[in-house]
């Protein structure tokens, strides 16, 4: 019989307790809005609040826009760096890591300073402020999105696939959209879900650009309600976990990307 490793299991249990205990506490608290009974009243209150629906819809739309524009910018850049400028990879990686070093508060004050007056007075209208917010989200999500795309590109033989497509008559547009994007499916989905999770919970950029996003709504709710913020936290957790679960599910269904695989 296989011997059970006591110490390994002890650390797993301790880790699980450390992670799940606060979560359980929050869940338990969120169910106690009605005195003496467990109920979903706090959840009902949140879901019936029109500000929840509006802010969540706004953030979802912003996340979708950020994902699309972000991937359209990052995939061709990362592809070109892999294909033609491999020596520039450390520089690009450094740039993509800057959002970890420069906090969102610095970024948004920079935005406000540059884009609040001529010649690029983007904060003067709702649409352009939304665009500014989207570009801000792109910067915040850049380290995650770039790394997902970069890992995806490393897993395929970019140069040979490009040359094979070129020898068959394909131009750059066709190569990107018919060969590169489809073969990065899992990487793109990982990047997309991570971006979604980041954008939906982001507070600083949305708050200082004064946009009705989900992050500021959560903070606002926490200031004057007790149980609803706990319910919102659990819902946010569920959403993030659903996104991670989807990544796992989709990557399991992806075909092998090995070029030299197979039985000879």
């Amino acid at each position: 019989m296989k011997k059970i490793n006591f110490w390994a299991w002890l650390w797993i249990v301790l880790g699980a307790v450390y992670f799940f205990l606060p979560l359980y506490g929050t869940l338990d608290f969120s169910l106690r809005e009605q005195r003496g009974v467990l109920s979903f009243l706090a959840y009902q209150n949140v879901l019936n609040d029109p500000r929840f629906r509006d802010s969540f819809t706004f953030s979802t739309l912003m996340a979708v826009a950020t994902i699309i524009v972000g991937l359209l910018l990052i995939v061709p850049t990362a592809y070109w760096v892999h294909l033609r400028l491999p020596q520039a990879r450390p520089i690009v990686e450094f740039i993509t890591l800057l959002p970890f070093v420069v906090p969102a508060i610095v970024l948004v004050f920079g935005f406000i300073r540059i884009y609040s007056g001529p010649p690029l007075a983007l904060t003067n209208s709702t649409t352009t402020t939304n665009a500014l917010l989207m570009f801000g989200y792109m910067v915040v999500a850049l380290p995650y999105t770039y790394r997902s795309v970069d890992a995806g590109l490393r897993a395929i033989d970019v140069r040979t696939l490009t040359e094979a497509a070129q020898s068959l008559g394909a131009g750059w547009f066709t190569i990107l959209f018919r060969i590169i994007f489809p073969n990065l499916r899992v990487a793109l989905l990982s990047g997309a879900f991570l971006t979604f999770a980041i954008v939906v919970g982001e507070f600083t950029l949305a708050n200082l650009l004064n946009r009705p996003a989900f992050g500021p709504y959560m903070v606002l709710l926490g200031q004057d309600r007790a149980y609803e913020p706990a319910a919102l936290s659990i819902m946010s957790f569920a959403l993030t976990w659903a996104a991670i679960g989807l990544i796992q599910l989709l990557s399991r269904g992806a075909p092998e990307q090995s070029q030299l695989g197979g039985v000879h």
Binding site: D157, T160, L161, A165, Q166, G261, G262, V263
Partner: protein
């Protein structure tokens, strides 16, 4: 005018000349192999024909049209890669039809052509599979079909069999050759495997250090190597240090024993040291056969290689090999035995140094 012509092509990467003074004329329907060791410039030359590298100097024409600076997707040149390079997101049929789809051919024509190509590569009915569901040999056959499906002017193969195991390599080699013969497509085949080059090609271009050492038919390359490099690289070769005794009479001395060559000694002086080469299979035991040259030597080693037996012998400072066909009744000498060997004057080639 030749169908594919490379004129004075040079390619440098910084200070390094990867290819220089490359001149080649390939006739329509010919299969020409570029053979040489790693880093000799054969793949760089192929990539210049494909358009993935631009020559530093010189020109490349196909069917009279200058394609030196034409982008790769406008050249109508099919290419097969060592790593297959099938598109993992597409089925076999989609891979084969990709070039035709780019050319905006109707879907019925693409489907018909894909089926034709699948029949040609002996994989009918496998069009719906994905590359990862195929073996390496099957993937490379699909890559070949894909490169041929859009009827390119020239087919380029960059070490297409290197990633396959020995048996598949031999069978696929024959298959590629027969398909090339059947379609009559002008083909350039890059390989470092001399057996592949010699067995498939109409002509072989032997390359070394970025330049051409020799261009010739497989027969010429093997039997009449022009440089020491070609002689050494293609097949097994004995090189012996000899001294010229009589240049006019083509007589030489190897370790005090006189031998005769049938080939001109090109103005060599008496007493001059030269390198001579003899293929192992051209040397026999004296007695079985008697030829113009005989030498006394000592057996140093005997290697059994299946169909042949390779015997290592020594004459003074020179150590060399002789090959004899294996048969169950073969009586072999023992290590340390003194034996006499014989070879013809035609077997003795006097080599010039590589450029």
């Amino acid at each position: 005018m030749a169908f594919l012509e490379l004129t004075n092509v040079r390619k440098s990467f910084g200070q390094v000349n990867a290819v220089e003074s490359f001149d080649l004329k390939v006739e329509r329907g010919e299969l020409v192999s570029f053979l040489g060791p790693s880093g000799c410039g054969k793949t760089t030359t192929l990539r210049m024909i494909a358009g993935f590298e631009m020559p530093t100097d010189g020109s490349i024409t196909i069917n009279g049209a200058d394609i030196t600076y034409v982008p790769p997707n406008k050249r109508n040149v099919g290419m097969v890669f060592q790593s297959y390079a099938l598109f993992p997101n597409m089925t076999v049929a989609d891979n084969i039809g990709f070039g035709l789809k780019i050319a905006k051919k109707p879907s019925s024509e693409i489907k018909k052509r894909a089926e034709e190509m699948l029949a040609l590569i002996h994989m009918p009915g496998l069009g719906n599979r994905y590359p990862y569901q195929l073996s390496g040999g099957q993937q490379q056959r699909v890559a070949l079909a894909r490169a041929l499906a859009f009827s390119p002017q020239v087919l380029l193969l960059d070490e297409p069999l290197s990633a396959l195991d020995a048996k598949i390599r031999v069978s696929l080699r024959g298959e590629i050759h027969s398909i090339q013969q059947k379609l009559g497509i002008t083909t350039i085949y890059v390989t470092h495997d001399q057996e592949e080059a010699l067995s498939m090609s109409d002509r072989v271009v032997v390359m070394n250090n970025g330049h051409i050492e020799q261009i010739g038919t497989p027969f010429e390359i093997y039997n009449f190597p022009k440089t020491e490099f070609v002689a050494q690289f293609v097949g097994t070769l004995n090189t012996l240090t000899a001294e010229v005794r009589d240049a006019a009479d083509k007589r030489l001395v190897v370790d005090g024993q006189e031998i005769k060559s049938a080939h001109a000694l090109d103005g060599a002086q008496v007493g001059e040291k030269v390198t001579v080469s003899i293929r192992p299979e051209r040397i026999s035991f004296y007695g079985e056969i008697q030829k113009v040259n005989t030498m006394n030597c000592t057996v140093e080693n005997i290697s059994f290689l299946g169909s042949i037996v390779r015997i290592q012998v020594r004459t003074g400072a020179n150590v060399f090999y002789m090959d004899t066909f294996n048969n169950p009744f073969l009586e072999l000498p023992k290590i340390g035995d003194k034996i006499q060997i014989t070879f013809s004057a035609e077997a003795v080639l006097v080599l010039r140094q590589s450029a």
